[in-house]
Each structure stands twice: as C-alpha cells, then as structure tokens.
Symmetry: C2
Subunit: 245 residues, 2 copies
Amino acid sequence: MSVVEQNSRKTSNGKVLSDGETKSYPCSGRNSTDEVAAALRRIGSGLHFSRGQTIFNQGDSANSLFKLVKGAARLCKHTAGGRRQIADFVLPEEFFGFVRVGEHKLSAEAITDVTLVSYPARQIERLADEVPAVRKVLLDFLSGRVLGMQDHLVMLGRQTATERAASFLLQLLDRNPPGRGKVIDLAMSRLDIADYLGLTLETVSRTLADLKHGRVIDLKGPHRVLVRDVDALRRLAEDEAPFPD
Amino acid sequence: MSVVEQNSRKTSNGKVLSDGETKSYPCSGRNSTDEVAAALRRIGSGLHFSRGQTIFNQGDSANSLFKLVKGAARLCKHTAGGRRQIADFVLPEEFFGFVRVGEHKLSAEAITDVTLVSYPARQIERLADEVPAVRKVLLDFLSGRVLGMQDHLVMLGRQTATERAASFLLQLLDRNPPGRGKVIDLAMSRLDIADYLGLTLETVSRTLADLKHGRVIDLKGPHRVLVRDVDALRRLAEDEAPFPD
DNA sequence: CGCCGTGTTGACCAGTTTCAAGATTGGTGG
DNA sequence: CCACCAATCTTGAAACTGGTCAACACGGCG
C-alpha cells in the first residue's frame, strides 16, 4: 500500500521527477540553516501528486520526511466508522511525515495538485548523526508539532464553533505566504475545515456566514476570505473572561 | 515563577532531596537502555511536590526534563477565560517537560503527592550530542507525544462522551503498573477527567454511571474502577461502523 | 444549457451543558 | 472509634449549542 517507496524510484501513484528535471526547490524549511538546506538538497527528490491522491496511508511504513513545495495537503486519521479527524494542514515550505516509528499513524492526502520533496528516512538519520544542525531541525520540527497540537487540543476540547473558526482563520493568516496581506486562500473544502475543527460542514458554513454578517470577514467565493477586522477575530478566538471585575 | 531551578539547589516550592538521601530511582524510562539509564542517573536529582502544587507554569522558562517516579501529575493549558484543557496525565516512569523552546506552553501540576527526577536541559543536550542512544530516547519521547496527541485529537474532535470515557479507561488500563490487573486507580478528580476529555464533570460522572449500570465496569468508590468487560469497553471506544453490510 | 459537486440555509432534534439539589467520601478532632 | 465537615461526586430537570435531515443555490464543465 505504500505510495512512496524508499528511494523514490518505483512509485505507484506519485510521479517522480527524474533527477535531470528536478527543479531548484528552496529546500530550507523556514528554520533551517544554509548548511542544512544544502545537505537536504542533496538527498531530496521531487514528487507530484494530483488533487485527491493519497501521499501515504495510515499503516504504511514510514520511511520518508517530506517537505511540501506547492499546493496543500491534509494529514488525517480515519476511524472505523468512517469519521475523520484532520490533524493538520500542510502548506508550502512545511515539513511533514516524520515520526520515529515503523508505520504512519495517519494518512497524508493532496488537497490540490501538490509538489513535494521526499527525504529518505535512512539518509535523514545518517545526516542527523553527522550534522548537529540537522538534529536541531528534527527536534524543532517535532517540538513544533507538539506545541501546535496542544493548541489544537484546546480548540477541540474547550472552544465554541465561532472560537474555532476564528482561531482557524488567524492560524491561516499567520501562515500566509509573504505579500498575501489579509487575503486567505482556503484550498480545502468546508468538509476538510469541519474535520479539522471537529464540527460539521454545515456549522462551518454557518459560522463563516456569521463572521461575514458581523463584518469581520468577507467571502470572495467559497475559497477566498478577506479578513476585514483582525482584532475582532482575535477577540472571537481567545476566550476572554466575559466580565473582568 | 519557575519552581524548579536549573541545578536543583534553590527551589521555592519543591523540596529537594539532598544528594546524600537521593533514593535509588529506577532511572530508566520504559524504553531506555541501561547505558542511557546510567547516564541519566548521574545528572538527575530528586524532587518532591505535594498534592495540588505546581511543578512548572505556563510561561516558565523550560530548562529541565522530568521523570515522574511516584504519584500522578497533569499537564494543562489554562485559557484567559478560566477554561482548562488537560493535554496529558503523567504516571510513574513517564517523562515530561521537554520541548525544545524557551518557555513552557503548559503547566504541570501535582495531582497527588509526587516524587520526580529532574534532568537539567543543558546536560540532556550535552548527553544527546555525545550518546546516540540518548538522541533516540529524546526522539522517541517526542514522537510518542505526537502519536498520543493524535489519538487525543480524534477523541476530542470526533468521539461521543461514552466513547471518550471508554477510550480513557482503556488508556489507563494500558498504562497500569504491572500486576494491577483490571483495577484502575483514578488518582485524578472528575473535573480533571472532564478537562482531559473535553466534557463537563457532570457528563463524566453520568457516563461512568452508565458504564457501571451496563455491567462494563464497577466503581469501588469514586477513585477505583474495576473493568469487568474489556471487550465491551473496546467496542464502546472504537466507533465501529454500526451496520457493516 | 443542464448537470454534478460543493456550498448555503432552514427547521427540527439530540447530546451535552448548565443550574440546582442531595449524597458520599475522606480527613479531622473530639 | 465515631461524629462532623468540607470537598467531591451523583443525580435531576431545563436550556442551548451544534448536529441531522432536507431543500435549494451556485458555479464550473461537458
């Protein structure tokens, strides 16, 4: 079932860019040094997946670290009863897929057509042993995931629908590529958002409509949001004490 | 505000066991090798906290890795509005407190009287640079947290109250100290459980009562649970497809 | 031009929360 | 050893948020 094989030669679904045509990906994640970037560039190989394709599946053996170059992906857990929880969205320049165990505990799926770079786990481990900076990048990656997931837990456990939606939009605003201003591109569907927020797609739709009618955001079509009032969003997201005496 | 200082000499709240009286803690976490255990034992120092005390606070500088020896602790995020989400409970032999950033993003609080060992972050980092096995332990620790939190996300985002309670009990059963059989000691209060499960304490209480009346568990007082039917619990926890055709 | 996937909106419903009493429990001191 | 007290837990009834079901709208594409 593994979609991405160890050395990116045989791939059942993902189209491999031959070494010759590998584009010059900015191989540094936002935190990595030039040294790390160079080391990674050497062992990375480019892949393509198209909208809806599975990059790896729950249960596949985990043998690569990925960096998303273009497009958007979702990391989700599927339950026996057909319910789904999205653990994270992956946007350009972000890493995903590395957890130090035998098999993936969630699946990665392309939301749009996607370009990514794959780094074989074995090589990553070798690099980590040799280059301290790589160790740091790995630890930072995992630590970052832990911190992000802590906020996600609060969201799912203790926030209302409106607070979740507001937090979500702020999160996307933070991750917005430079120069994008307050216009957010929602690559994902309402169902994806719902499964990330722990809500139904109807509630997501209604909540966004409410934000629109409250003049906090504008909807330029279902997949483009203009944030009119960032502070209002912040107030809605952070569960303030209603009446601080 | 930091309760535990770098080299465990001055401590405002936690009582330090002098080096002389430091007991022979089993310094190996469940996964660590003897080599790692020995290295850790050398740099660890014992601490005590009593029921209700804060071990470290959201915002404190993070400069230690801890291992809990005895008792139980909770890791929680407190929000502005006074809501609380517990990210994890810490039971004996489990590590906590290490995230590679400047300050803690959650607080650790003693549920019962607690004995723990503290390893200064600086020393841990030095060890990690020198001993590959220590690196592995750290990566495993972080990876384990990520995997555990993924399940927690599913629970909070997509499970009903009954499913959450069942999952929770199964989780405790898994972590039960050897020889404890099917008797679970609930060190934490109903409110703690509620804040872990993303429910109210009333709902937790009712749900446990339901499980009792369904002959799935017995309650020997509020803090002692006997699991009568593990399989029933599993069925209740895993959201099965209701009618597989 | 009409179709299909996706998004929106409405009405009703259910599970969980909220509010409010009581009931246990465990610790303390007589 | 027992009685009492405060904290915690349980239980009940009403209220509400978000879910479910269903109809309709929009928009891109053949």
